[in-house]
């Protein structure tokens, strides 16, 4: 300890730090997708939204000097992509999964296309809140440097959980997701509900992207997402469309992402490729254990094409 090292404690600390640092994009995308899927639509395009959000946040932060404007821009970009998805899906006989894949390509491509000049400049980043002030150990303080977006995400999960159950909007979304006929019978436009749900989902996913480029890893480049958006969409199904479970799943994924590098730093060097794949192996294992062929997934919106 005298030399400033904390030895094996690095691993749990890195997992904790990783859970906080890496989980936020997963959290925002999965919560956003949770809203969309609860309304009966799946938007696989959130990978593109995430990347597009990251790029636009970085660009706006760089141009205006305000990272918060960047976050807002990312959200708006995401909402627009969500509107595009919902718009195309509202045409008859259009498959929402396919539209998602199309928008994944389109969003990613557009972000790369427009983002070329943004790789080199440094944009103002989002500030961090120091939650480790009580500790003298710099590693602990570093792990507990938290961005307010993370806190918003953590707060959003129980709020959504509550909103789905008790608010009028939550009920409307769930009705649209469970039975479009019922929603229609109540005099509501299913398409409009889904449009709004997809736009909100895109808004959140865009903000998740802004976290990537403006906080951690904290710059714009083309390898930034490496599939986090699509993984987060998978997390929603894994989390059974429950916002609270989305929160736990995102934290677990974030922590698992830190596992590979942390293990190497304490001398566990063999098989680092397999450790790096730990989040995926774990998810698959948990799904195999917890799913059942006898019943459909609890919590699955009945209108969702992927579970029908």
């Amino acid at each position: 300890m005298a030399d400033g090292s904390i030895g094996l404690w690095t691993v749990p600390l890195a997992v904790l730090g990783g859970a906080i640092r890496v989980s936020t994009p997963f959290l925002f995308v999965s919560l956003g997708e949770c809203i969309t899927e609860r309304s009966g639509r799946i938007n696989l395009g959130l990978e593109g939204t995430l990347v597009m959000g990251a790029m636009s946040a970085y660009g706006i932060s760089y141009l205006t000097g305000s990272p918060w404007l960047g976050v807002l821009a990312a959200g708006i970009t995401g909402a627009l992509l969500g509107a595009l998805h919902a718009g195309i899906c509202s045409l008859p006989r259009v498959n929402d999964i396919a539209v998602g894949i199309a928008l994944m390509l389109f969003g990613t491509g557009l972000a790369f296309y427009l983002g070329k000049p943004l790789i080199e400049p440094t944009a103002p980043r989002l500030p961090a809140i120091d939650f480790g002030w009580w500790s003298d150990i710099p590693q602990v303080r570093a792990a507990l440097r938290v961005n307010v977006l993370f806190l918003i995400g953590v707060a959003l999960a129980p709020i959504l959980y509550w909103a789905f159950r008790t608010t009028r909007w939550g009920l409307l979304i769930r009705t649209a997701g469970e039975s479009s006929d019922a929603a229609r019978a109540m005099g509501h436009s299913v398409l409009l509900i889904r449009l709004r749900a997809t736009m909100v989902g895109g808004f959140l996913a865009g903000i998740g992207g802004s976290f990537l480029s403006l906080f951690y890893p904290g710059s714009w480049n083309e390898g930034l997402s490496s599939g986090q958006g699509i993984t987060a969409v998978a997390l929603v199904i894994f989390a059974r469309w429950d916002p609270l479970l989305c929160l736990w799943a995102s934290l677990a994924f974030g922590g698992a992402a830190a596992l590979g590098p942390a293990l190497q730093s304490v001398g566990v060097t063999s098989g680092y490729h397999l450790f790096n794949a730990a989040p995926y192996i774990l998810t698959l294992a948990i799904m195999i254990i917890t799913c059942s062929p006898k019943r459909t997934l609890t919590g699955a919106p009945a209108e969702l094409s992927i579970t029908r």
Binding site: D3, G4, S5, I6, T10, L13, A14, G17, G18, R21, V22, F112, K116, P117, I119, E120, T122, Q139, A142, A143, Y216, P217, G218, S219, N221, E222, G223, L224, S226, Q228, A257, A258, G260, P261, A262, Q264, S265, V266, G267, T269, S270, Y272, H273, N276
Partner: protein, 370 residues
Amino acid sequence: MEFGRISRRHLLQGGAALTLGAAAGARPSFAAETTIGFIYVGSRDDYGYNQAHAQGAAALKKIPGLKVVEEEKVPETDAVEKTIESMINLDGATLLFPTSFGYYNPHMVKMANKFPKLHFEHCGGLWSDKDPKNAGSYFGYIDEAQYISGIVAGYTSKSGKLGFVAAKPIPQVLRNINAFALGARLANPKATTQVIFTGDWSMPVKEAEATNSLIDQGVDVLTCHVDGPKTMVENAARRGAMVCGYHVNQSPLAPKAYLTGAEWNWEALYPKFVKMIAAGESIPNFYRGGLKEEIVKTSPYGEAVSAEARKHADDVKAKFFSGDGYAIFKGGLVDNKGKTVIAAGTDRGQKDPELEKMDYLVEGVVGATS
């Protein structure tokens, strides 16, 4: 269609270009327009490996009579063969620079055999007598610059712990890690260099996590060998650690934390190649060099580098520039498992082909190659 005809004529212009290096007596100037093709594996604005090459290509664009065509993000599959053929067939390229290691075999070798009159220069490959004569491979001993970085890092580190974020345990990367670690030990014989492999060339989240893990272990100076060092540089600087850059000068990203860096100097080498060809000289098929040959360079020292460190680093740099050269990997070298990897008394100079097969980490490096 009028439009089509104009474009077609334009397309054919390349074909009429002078064939580079075809005859020994070729004019030293470029009478007709000569087309040179550059192929990058990633984005050419990556602030790293590919950007360094693109800067070299940009230097060629300034030379009158040369036309440079570029293609980025070409995967190391038959796509690169088709890109090469397309540059030849449709653009009339006569000199090609496929700049990623994985392009060499089988792809570029196949194309060099198919177009024996054209010239291919590959970055990083290991040309051997079995390979076509119109192909060549060049590379820089960037470990010399990493060695200098190591010296500076060794002086600057307070904890004596240095960190290295690396992509994959391959010879070129291991050589950089070892050179950095050996340089650090010149400054501080007790210095250790801890390495973390991220598994691939561009994994920003993993690179950031590796950086954080290293700093959590007490590391206070870091460098890296990944395609885009920006993530490591920025995240390390944010946590108050010092950094040495790689590929290109990243000091604008963290002016206070940036000590020095190992940079490519392609903008010096590529015009040299072109002038050699234009003068009718042939480029050696196996072309290597370091600081002295101006293929690599070091970034200017940052403000945090002490006078002592500057002096020691400059002294060693002067040895690299001297006529006798300087061996980083000297006899009696022991790896981090205690095995002697270079027998006592046999210094391995920079051009020693054995070094291109490096599969060990030297004493003082914390980490493993598999």
